[in-house]
């Protein structure tokens, strides 16, 4: 990481100023698979930006590049307008990026508190874990997000339902000093009521001045909460919309038949 954050001082920045995060011509290959090809993408504080695309379009890979899990092959990532190198989850967390993955990444054998503080445990001056402090802040965070279905924060995550796990993962992301929260398919496995809760939560995060990046297949959800939509197709960004100025039909068209700048070789037909 070549940049450090100025401690969230620009949280209240009005939408429309410099994007908090900007990808410029980012490419990523896995051997023969060109997962991303010169992708441009930006996210602004106080807005929900949706990233859509068919299965295998490269949404999850984009997120993992931002997280520093995959190093990018070409292009650059700008944070507050300045180029940064994110070479691991520690770097992205230090910038204020929090990610809720599609596969949630919770450790089943740990309880709710242990999961929410994983890798950032509070310790007492004697370097012992400060369980009391962690448990209290977890309960407070869950309460503030109206997550009321969890009986005990000392329950192991293995015993929770999909919706409860999703809530824990979202709560985990916003509990930190985050400026950008990225959600990969946050409602995919949820019932009606839980989806409602998560969408409300997403809106609330943006209202608080955070930048929110939302990945989803559900256009209905996206049209409800997103301000902007970027469409990925076969690893390329093929279209950008303002939600208020477009229709679901237009977006679907871009997802399935958006114009590619370069036609990838054999994999084109593979797309299901």
């Amino acid at each position: 990481m070549t940049e450090t954050t100025d401690a969230g001082g620009s949280r209240e920045r009005s939408p429309g100023a410099v994007p908090i995060l900007e990808l410029r011509g980012v490419s990523k290959r896995f051997g023969a698979v060109q997962a991303l090809h010169e992708v441009n993408f930006d996210v602004r504080a106080g807005e929900v930006t949706a990233l859509v695309g068919d299965n295998g379009a490269g949404k999850s890979v984009t997120i993992k590049c931002i997280a520093g899990i995959y190093p990018i092959d070409e292009g650059e990532i700008l944070w507050d307008g300045r180029p940064v190198t994110i070479s691991g989850p520690k770097d992205s967390a230090a910038l204020g990026i929090e990610i809720v993955y599609q596969d949630l990444a919770l450790a089943d054998n740990l309880d709710v508190v242990q999961n929410m503080y994983l890798g950032r445990e509070e310790v007492t001056p004697l370097r012992a874990l400060d369980e009391t402090k962690m448990e209290r802040r977890c309960s407070e965070t869950l309460a503030s997000l109206s997550v009321t279905t969890i009986r005990s924060v000392r329950q192991t995550v293995a015993g929770l339902s999909g919706g409860q796990r999703q809530s824990i993962a979202v709560a985990k992301a916003v509990m930190w000093n985050s400026r950008l929260v990225i959600l990969d398919e946050p409602t995919a496995a949820l019932g009606v009521a839980q989806t409602r809760q998560v969408l409300d939560l997403v809106k609330r995060l943006a209202e608080q001045g955070l930048a929110v990046m939302l990945v989803s297949h559900n256009l209905h959800d996206i049209f409800e909460v997103a301000d902007n939509i970027t469409v990925l197709r076969l690893g390329q960004d093929v279209a950008r919309f303002k939600t208020s100025e477009t229709t679901q039909r237009e977006v679907v068209e871009a997802i399935t038949a958006g114009t590619l700048s370069t036609v990838p070789g054999q994999e084109e037909e593979v797309q299901a």
Partner: protein, 410 residues
């Protein structure tokens, strides 16, 4: 501050869960496959009854002291094994690594020419254990070879090192009263009572301090009755042990060593960031990595701890036998130690288990070994019975894991 401003906490007046709620949570856990120490304590009871019926020397003070001294090396080595099992890994080299530790200590303490102080010899042996384990860990994580294979190679290589160190001597007699004292000297009877009371007072202090801290933070505590029962239970159990052993030779120093290390490693696993990360890596390595945990570092440290504890066990075994020979680290020590950790309730699938599993498992193993010995049965029978018990323990582990999967706790 958090993105969402939390409401101000309103600490209620020290809430505690009701006994009913506590019992329900416990039952939930058992049903969900978190059996805890339940099967093992049942097993120990059965073993005690069966052997006592067969031979009334089994439950005597003298035999109880023997059992402690016999089980201690397994318990110590098994403590290290728990760390690697928690990662979902295995260490097959602990037997001969313990041999290297015992032989090194005995050689360094030989009164020929280069006499080193006892402390230097012990530290050197322990240090070599750390280095050996770190070497295993580095090869496993950085080269990417499964721990099974690396430590299998280690099993052979460290056996070779034992033979090379012993050379043509055949047997090296341990010539240091301090080291021999571990397994052959006993805590003065009055001092044993004081130690016991200190341990219980310490435990009670920790429990009550935690109670106060949670209460002042407005968090729900376990029912006071349960906390009281735990303290009284420990007092009764330790008091009984001291009372029994004091009717014979007394409390062996190794028992104190096992107790101290049990508390120390439990603290490391349950109360430090490192310990938390060990569980996380064993439960979901990918989640740990994404949380910014250096997974390789955690693994290397665990293998180092494992070999370190193998050396501690090796020194104690050498102390008990008062000598080391070319068989040091061979025989049953490897399998008995791994079996102890597993029988005690450490999951082979990683992420589940406690240090106390090492102690409970070693008690079972030592009881079987000792009891069958009293009945005059051969090593052959001992191995068959221990093998069956190990299989039973692994079966309980697998079945309770299936229980977790069925209750949606994959």
């Amino acid at each position: 501050m958090s993105a969402i401003t939390p409401p101000l906490p309103t600490p209620a007046a020290a809430p505690t869960a009701t006994i009913g709620a506590y019992a329900r949570r416990w039952l939930d856990n058992v049903r969900g496959g978190e059996l805890g120490s339940l099967p093992i304590i049942l097993g120990l009871l059965i073993i005690a009854v069966v052997f006592q019926v067969q031979n009334d020397r089994f439950l005597t003070a003298g035999n109880f002291v023997n059992l402690m001294v016999q089980g201690a090396p397994f318990a110590l080595v098994a403590m290290g094994i728990v760390f690697v099992l928690l990662l979902g890994e295995i260490d097959l080299s602990v037997g001969y690594v313990s041999g290297v530790g015992g032989v090194l200590t005995a050689l360094l303490l030989l009164p020929d020419g280069s006499t080193v102080p006892t402390s230097v010899a012990i530290v050197a042996a322990l240090g070599s254990g750390v280095l050996i384990g770190a070497l295993h860990g580095v090869v496993i994580t950085k080269v990417g070879i499964p721990s099974f294979v690396v430590t299998l190679a280690g099993l052979l290589a460290w056996n070779g090192v034992v033979l090379l160190l012993i050379g043509s001597r055949g047997t090296v007699v341990l010539q240091d009263d301090f080291v021999i004292g571990f397994a052959n000297d006993f805590v003065p009877k009055g001092a044993a009572w004081v130690l016991m009371l200190l341990a219980v007072a310490g435990y009670a202090g920790v429990q009550l301090w935690g109670l106060r801290k949670r209460a002042s933070a407005g968090l729900v505590n376990d029912p006071l009755l349960i906390i009281g029962l735990r303290i009284v239970g420990l007092l009764v159990a330790l008091g009984f042990v001291v009372w029994v052993v004091n009717q014979d030779r007394g409390l062996p120093y190794v028992a104190v060593l096992v107790g101290v290390l049990l508390v120390f490693w439990t603290y490391v696993l349950r109360r430090t960031r490192f310990g938390r990360h060990v569980y996380a890596v064993g439960g979901n390595a990918e989640a740990a990595r994404r949380a910014g945990i250096d997974v390789d570092r955690i693994k290397i440290i665990c293998f180092a701890i494992c070999s370190l504890m193998a050396v501690v066990g090796g020194i104690v075994l050498a102390s008990r036998l008062r000598s080391v020979d070319t068989n040091a680290g061979g025989g049953a020590i490897l399998l008995y130690s791994i079996a102890a950790a597993v029988i005690g309730g450490t999951s082979l699938f990683g992420g589940r288990g406690h240090i106390k599993a090492a102690l409970l498992g070693a008690l079972v193993i030592a009881s079987i070994d000792n009891g069958l010995g009293l009945l005059g049965l051969s090593s052959g029978t001992k191995f068959v019975v221990t093998g069956v018990v190990l299989l039973l323990a692994v079966a309980v582990d697998s079945i309770s894991r299936r229980g977790r999967e069925q209750s949606g706790r994959a």
